[in-house]
């Protein structure tokens, strides 16, 4: 279980990026974090990853405090961040250097197979499309078999079709070992398709605003009326989270009108 206890982050420049954020996340849960730009989503993810330390509060995984990158926590960034001097296969095996070569090769081959890039093993990263590169990044994170996988807007640089493809693919991969997924997104549909729970955040300072449980069975039909209802629900919550910060002089807003990004 991942426990966030009033995690607070004040950057050296005085920005209150995160204010007493608390939540409990069970193993195997899929959490989507959504919120306006600059409300501390990346900050939160980096604190869980142990890349930046929180100014206050604690992040604990199975009772163990996280202060530095942890073996059981993986992260996928908005960009694939592949190492350009390693082939696709070596990129995927990058975190497995402690394993014997044979086992590493086998795990990498299986991961490549799993993300549908078996024929790209020997290829340089620059020869991949954006979607393929992000699949390699997913494989690199998953091959280390993390208990918690953090994803910071992993599909936002991709076109709508590829994004949908990768969302389904991610669920597929998740079903293999059922790690905890914590996904930051700007895409309400993505949140509702993937998550068990959607955490809506609000800015200045960044804090948890609302929590919405999506109890839809998987696989989810993007066109089902109930799906639409959840989407609307999340959208209104988002709207309210943003309207509080904007003076109410601009008149009534349409649901989703706050989604100006």
């Amino acid at each position: 279980m991942l426990q966030l206890q009033s995690v607070t982050k004040v950057y050296p420049n005085g920005v209150h990026a995160l204010e007493r954020f608390s939540s409990e996340i069970q193993l195997g849960e899929i959490i989507a974090i959504i919120g306006g730009s600059g409300c501390g989503k990346s900050t939160l993810l980096r604190a869980i990853a142990g890349l930046d330390r929180a100014s206050n509060g604690t992040v604990t995984l199975d009772g163990e405090a996280i202060a530095a990158p942890h073996a059981k926590v993986g992260i996928i960034f908005q960009e694939p961040r592949l190492l350009p001097w390693l082939t696709v296969a070596d990129n995927i095996g990058f975190g497995l250097s402690e394993l014997p070569a044979a086992e590493r090769r086998e795990r990498v081959a299986r991961a490549l197979e799993r993300v549908g890039l078996a024929d790209k093993a020997k290829v340089w990263p620059r020869e991949l499309s954006g979607g393929q590169a992000q699949r390699v990044a997913i494989a690199r994170a998953l091959v280390a078999q993390p208990e918690v996988l953090l994803l910071d807007e992993p599909f936002s640089a991709l076109d709508a079709f590829t994004r949908k493809d990768l969302q389904d693919h991610l669920l597929d991969l998740w079903a293999d070992t059922r790690p905890t997924l914590i996904l930051v997104t700007h895409d309400v549909e993505e949140a509702v398709v993937l998550a068990d729970r959607v955490l809506v955040m609000r800015p200045h300072p960044g804090r948890l605003f609302e929590e919405i449980t999506i109890n839809l069975s998987r696989p989810r039909d993007r066109n089902a009326p109930l799906f639409e209802q959840f989407k609307r629900h999340v959208l209104t919550a988002l709207d309210r989270s943003l309207d509080r910060t904007v003076p109410d002089t601009q008149g009534r807003r349409e649901p989703g009108g706050g989604l100006w990004w």
Binding site: P69, G74, L83, P84, S97, G116, W124, P125, S129
Partner: protein, 282 residues
């Protein structure tokens, strides 16, 4: 469906590039560059041959070639070339070693950079030739001062290239190393070194070029052997053909060593997607 289209497209696009452009075309490209110097040489040769110029101060190519052939036959050429190559080799080695060591330390370690870098930058502002009198006083007129001058010339581009390269390593890539919990040495070996390599190779090549420049200066300051000596000797005895011959040999060997360096480092940089490589292959 989508997958097959996606996967086949690059394969189809790659074939005509490699197949319809045979090695003949790849050979023709460098030959194109030889066209201008060769026709100029030929024109001058004809001009002298036709008697429009006596070619005494600017010897025609045939005269230069005979000079080179004579020097080669007497064994003098090998002696001079060996001498110059040795000086460049040792000076380059020392300059690279010092530049890499200091550049690596200053690039990696902030405190060392704040301590050392300002001094190095100040020294860099001094034209390197200005050291010559001091070097001669300190190290004597013979080999040591010459090698020292070459090493100084090589040091600066290597040092600057390496510190700059380390400082500009992408923080995002370093973060990947942190996520996989690399130790300090592993971070250097698996992230920093490969990330820095392309810029380092460029720095080595610039350094080598400067090494060749400074060997001439070094051999001007009183040498009895070496290609630079051939230049001075040609000037003092009024033999322009010998000067041009030495210049031609400088050009050939300088280019050859640069080319060797490029060949030696190419396997390490295969992953790079550089503009030059693309236009070289297409």
């Amino acid at each position: 469906m989508i997958m097959t289209v996606e996967l086949q497209a690059p394969a189809v696009a790659a074939t005509p590039q490699t197949a319809s452009r045979p090695w003949a075309a790849r050979l023709a490209r460098p030959l194109l560059g030889l066209l201008l110097p060769l026709s100029l040489a030929l024109a001058w040769e004809l001009a002298v041959w036709a008697g429009w110029s006596n070619g005494r101060l600017v010897p025609p190519p045939s005269k230069v070639f005979t000079t080179i052939a004579e020097l080669a036959r007497s064994g003098e050429l090998t002696r001079h070339i060996t001498m110059t190559l040795t000086r460049v080799g040792i000076g380059f080695g020392l300059g690279v070693a010092a530049g890499t060591l200091l550049g690596g330390i200053c690039g990696y370690w902030g405190l060392a950079r704040r301590l050392i870098d300002p001094t190095v930058q100040a020294l860099r502002a001094i034209p390197s030739i200005a050291w010559v009198p001091l070097f001669i006083l300190w190290l004597g007129i013979f080999e040591t001062s010459k090698v020292a001058l070459i090493a100084v010339g090589v040091f600066f581009p290597v040092y600057l290239g390496l510190t700059g390269a380390i400082l500009s390593v992408d923080r995002k890539i370093v973060e990947v190393g942190r996520v996989f919990r690399l130790s300090g040495p592993a971070m250097i070996r698996r992230i920093l070194l490969p990330a820095v390599l392309p810029a380092y190779v460029v720095a080595l090549r610039v350094g080598l070029g400067l090494g060749w420049m400074f060997v001439v200066a070094a051999e001007f300051m009183g040498a009895s052997e070496g290609l630079g000596y051939l230049l001075i000797d040609g000037q003092q005895l009024g033999k322009p053909a010998q000067i041009v011959a030495a210049i031609v040999i400088f050009a050939i060997i300088g280019k050859a060593t640069d080319w060797l360096l490029e060949i030696a480092t190419a396997p390490l940089l295969r992953w790079q997607d550089s503009f030059a490589r693309q236009s070289g292959a297409a």
